[in-house]
Subunit: 599 residues, 2 copies
């Protein structure tokens, strides 16, 4: 299998030309993120990904994890060494505050780094991803005492992190959560209950594991407004702050899954030891405010899962390209020449180009959104910061929902390029498709993302931010039109924008009286907005490439290829926007009328 090569050229192009790297590094607190530093970080990350994480990815898939009779979870060979090196290099705290031992770098810089981790070893990278999400939640919601006690070692990666939401009867519906927390006289709590699907719920990679657990206080109101969040460690700390007595929490089972075998998915039992009297925990944030806090962690995780889509897609693309360059088969359809690699066949080139175009579109949207994150939190211009926050909020479900769906398709296409060899597990490409199958499900399914988009992000504010976005899309189309070379791109892109407008009008007009029909179109709407935002970013890629070509800056072959890539994206995927738009507007009626008894 070909080694991973970090797509540094594409990454830097997007960071600089599309995502506002210069503006981000001009923000207060980010002055250290100079172009040289960013380049050095991405270089190092690329080496680490290719040299440390990639080589153990297939082994993690084959070996998987196992639960010993004594309740220990054994991770694949090499996991422990890789984790120690990861921690030693300080990667966990890359974007976390200096105050707690992090490096305080912008999200714009950490995002391509995460892409590399996910590309080379998603099952492994889920572990540090949990640390970052948990740190963000603790930073915002935890008391100073909890922060001082737990954060430094969560940031450093000395301890692991988990998030505990799901229970057998409470999957997408957290209102059904039953785990309960009883107050203890010393201000701590005792937790009782079972959580399922807990990634890295138990392992021996770290000397302690910090669980964040959703549970109900006595007399808590029903539903999601009665959920509180608790920090529950695997080991309680001794007087010196080191892991001491075992807490009353254990892993009672791990799942046998389609993919991400290297990541143990645990069923965790809290407070089932009988005499021990419950798992000791502390309240994070206010009582009954657990969901809010969990959503901080979850939103972080959702963006990260979107990045998984791009990362897995990139790696699958690289592997397919490597195969297509080496595998000789058939004759050239035009010249009849034999002995050509399959990349020469127009349909194989189509598959690879559509993989590359979609990965580039996802990456451009994700990095641009990472820049919005940074501006939202740090830009001195309050109006601009507020606009970036609105865009982040509106497009978070798209970044998660669309990039995961597309990432999955790209991984499946990679198998197709390999043909029969792709179906043989030893080839290694099937793993990417199996791993990728979870990303449209966890951290909120595509359906949940789409409902969030339609309900909370569009209808609740009567489409205000969406209209603001549409105006920006039109502005990009107008700029395209000014470039003689890019006029035809502008037409294709404009069709997608119109498709969004028509669907948005329909959604806003029918959001009240025909809400069920609107929800039936939520996923097609999410795809529509994703495709169009992808087209937007590819239009920006083309504009930036033309600008640099005109200025005589950079490799002209590369820059010209980016223009063709954008044209290909908009010709291949752009027209699907109109198709999704029509489905949004027309498929809900028959769907509602279809009698469920007739299924």
């Amino acid at each position: 299998m070909h080694d991973y090569a970090a797509p540094l050229r594409d990454m830097h192009f997007i960071l600089r030309e599309l995502a506002g790297q210069d503006a981000v590094s001009a923000l207060q607190g980010f002055e250290d993120a100079t172009p040289d530093v960013v380049e050095a970080i991405l270089d190092e990350a690329g080496k680490f990904a290719a040299g440390v994480l990639g080589p153990i990815n297939a082994r993690g898939d084959v070996q998987g994890c196992r639960l010993d009779a004594d309740g220990r979870v054994v991770t694949p060979d090499g996991w422990k060494e890789a984790w120690d090196r990861f921690v030693e290099a300080g990667w966990t705290g890359l974007s976390l505050p200096l105050e707690f031992g992090g490096q305080g770098l912008p999200k714009l810089v950490s995002t391509p780094v995460w892409e590399m981790w996910f590309a080379t070893n998603m099952a492994f990278a889920m572990l540090p991803q949990l640390n970052v999400g948990q740190a963000e939640a603790l930073l915002i919601a935890a008391s100073d005492e909890l922060k001082q006690t737990w954060l430094p070692k969560v940031v450093s990666g000395e301890w692991g992190s988990t998030m505990n939401l799901t229970e057998p009867q409470a999957g997408s519906d957290l209102a059904a959560t039953r785990t309960r927390a009883e107050p203890a006289p010393d201000g701590s709590f005792r937790l009782f209950g079972q959580k399922i699907f807990i990634s890295y719920g138990e392992h021996e990679l770290t000397s302690n594991i910090v669980h964040l657990v959703l549970a109900r206080l006595p007399d808590a109101p029903a539903g999601v407004k009665g959920l509180s969040l608790f920090l529950v460690p695997k080991f309680l700390l001794d007087a010196d702050g080191n892991p001491g007595a075992k807490n009353d929490v254990r892993c009672i089972a791990i799942e046998h899954k389609l993919g991400i075998h290297g990541s143990p998915t645990c069923t965790m039992s809290y407070g089932d030891a009988g005499d021990a009297g419950g798992a000791v925990g502390w309240l994070v944030g206010g009582p009954n405010r657990g969901l809010e806090t969990m959503f901080i962690m979850m939103n972080e995780a959702r963006f990260g899962v979107g990045v998984q889509g791009a990362g897995l897609g990139e790696r699958a693309y690289q592997l397919a390209l490597g195969y297509a360059r080496e595998r000789v088969q058939g004759r050239d359809a035009i010249t009849g020449e034999a002995g050509q690699p399959i990349l020469h066949h127009p349909d194989v080139k189509r598959m690879l180009l559509s993989m590359r175009a979609r990965v580039m579109a996802m990456r451009a949207l994700l990095y641009t959104a990472a820049g919005w994150f940074d501006f939202a939190e740090h830009h001195p211009d309050a109006a601009l910061a507020a606009k970036c926050r609105r865009y982040v909020d509106l497009l978070m479900p798209v970044a998660k929902g669309w990039c995961t769906e597309v990432g999955q398709q790209v991984c499946s296409d990679a198998i197709q390029v390999f043909g029969g060899m792709g179906f043989v597990e030893e080839t290694g490409i099937a793993q990417f498709a199996r791993d990728a199958r979870i990303i449209t499900i966890y951290e909120g399914t595509t359906g949940i993302q789409a409902n969030d988009l339609i309900g909370r992000k569009i209808l609740r504010e009567s489409g205000e931010t969406l209209r603001e976005l549409i105006a920006d899309l039109h502005a990009t189309a107008a700029t395209l039109r000014e470039e003689a070379e890019l006029g035809s791109l502008a037409d294709g892109f404009a069709d997608s924008i119109i498709a969004v407008e028509r669907a948005a009008e329909w959604v806003l007009a029918n959001g009240k009286e025909r809400f069920a029909e609107v929800l039936a179109g939520a996923v097609p709407f999410l795809h529509l907005l994703g495709i169009t935002c992808g087209a937007w970013q590819m239009a920006r890629v083309a504009l930036a490439a033309r600008r640099r070509l005109a200025a005589g800056q950079g490799d002209p072959v590369y820059l010209a290829s980016l223009v063709e890539l954008a044209r290909f994206y908009i010709a291949s995927f752009g027209p699907q926007a109109a198709a999704c738009s029509q489905a949004v507007r027309e498929a809900g009626g028959p769907l509602i009328r279809f009698d469920a008894a007739a299924f």
Copy 2:
């Protein structure tokens, strides 16, 4: 897991209303296929599928096959018993001639039966599928002596069958075949070479295995025109025609695959025993005419693989529906009511309805095509028979290519309905997606099907049959328009037809000068034609349902649901036709211009 329930109501509706069951049973030789007989056969097949094949499907996936040190391939527990019962019931010969022990039933009747086998246990059903394909090839090409010797036990299933095309360097490109055949003085041949990816190449389910092997005679011309076909048994026959001495052929490895674990995928070695002097075989058909004959078997298999798409999709749909009816989660988006199964959520209903609609569209197209097969071979009206042959030829790559792509999507959607549980292997739904991943690859990838469609089926005859088909599509749209209730359906369907026309015009206009661009659009064109043929069939479903409603025949709830199903299909999937059409016409340019060095 819910037991399989053969979708008899849908099957009979399509057979009678769309696929011409009455006309087929009026054909000479098919008089026995009365409605009662067909109903009894489908009933029995449904019971066999649900009762015998379904229950061992998951076990086959978990156990898989293994190759013993002594070269024996061990199939999963229950495989042998199921096969014995399958043979005893005479299912193998359902559509094969009475003369050789078959039942001589039309393809129209065997097709739904195959759908049931594939739905419940695709890995198992690949075995009898090979017998049927091989029998068809021997019937057409083998000498009388070979037929008398081998056919009866291939038809009965007492012996197994294989097809041996692929070699490590010769996958899609059979021209690169190296296996050679040397003539022996007695008129037989000795084969030497290695074949890979041979389904059921070795096993102990049958007392003999009959291999059909592509190989080169000495002095054969290079390329595909130098391939001959040989019948090579596992055991040579003794004087009584029973399996005797072991032939010089053996399985040297089996693959570890993403899916269809119950089906052993073998590397077969011919003539490597040294002293034995090669594997004994007999020429089937003329020298250097092997590919032609193999294509008989392959065309049969391609249609069957299309049926796999529908079968896997149906079963995945049933399982997802069963889960969605039982899993309680969340509140009703409209009423706020709790305690509802997830089927109540509009997006879950959307997923299930889109699964059901696509399965119905595939089934309708496949059964209709099965009817064309029967008419092509048996109809007394030569013009009609010739037209049906043209349609079969034109649409075979669509039946294979489109139904497999759609079947895969449906199986993936089923996982999505299960959410997190879908990713857990024990749930059982992931197997269907893993099994389905091969169907767009084997028997010619989607790309190969699409090239066949564009090159051999459209350009070679300047689009003649395609134009004939388009006229039929317009006629159906016109009939829709005459039904006041179905007018809006007609508009949606007409858009798809126009999309086909525009793409076809472009392909025909550019097939010479811009052939590479045309080939780059081959797969989108295949999707376009598939979607539109699906819409055609769903339009016919709606028309037939309206007819029966108007006549007061049948269950009005069911019939009304079919009309809504057709509307949903055309609103959800119809608009993708225009998107594919645009991609065909516009994406090839940038694709060709994109410099492959810039990948």
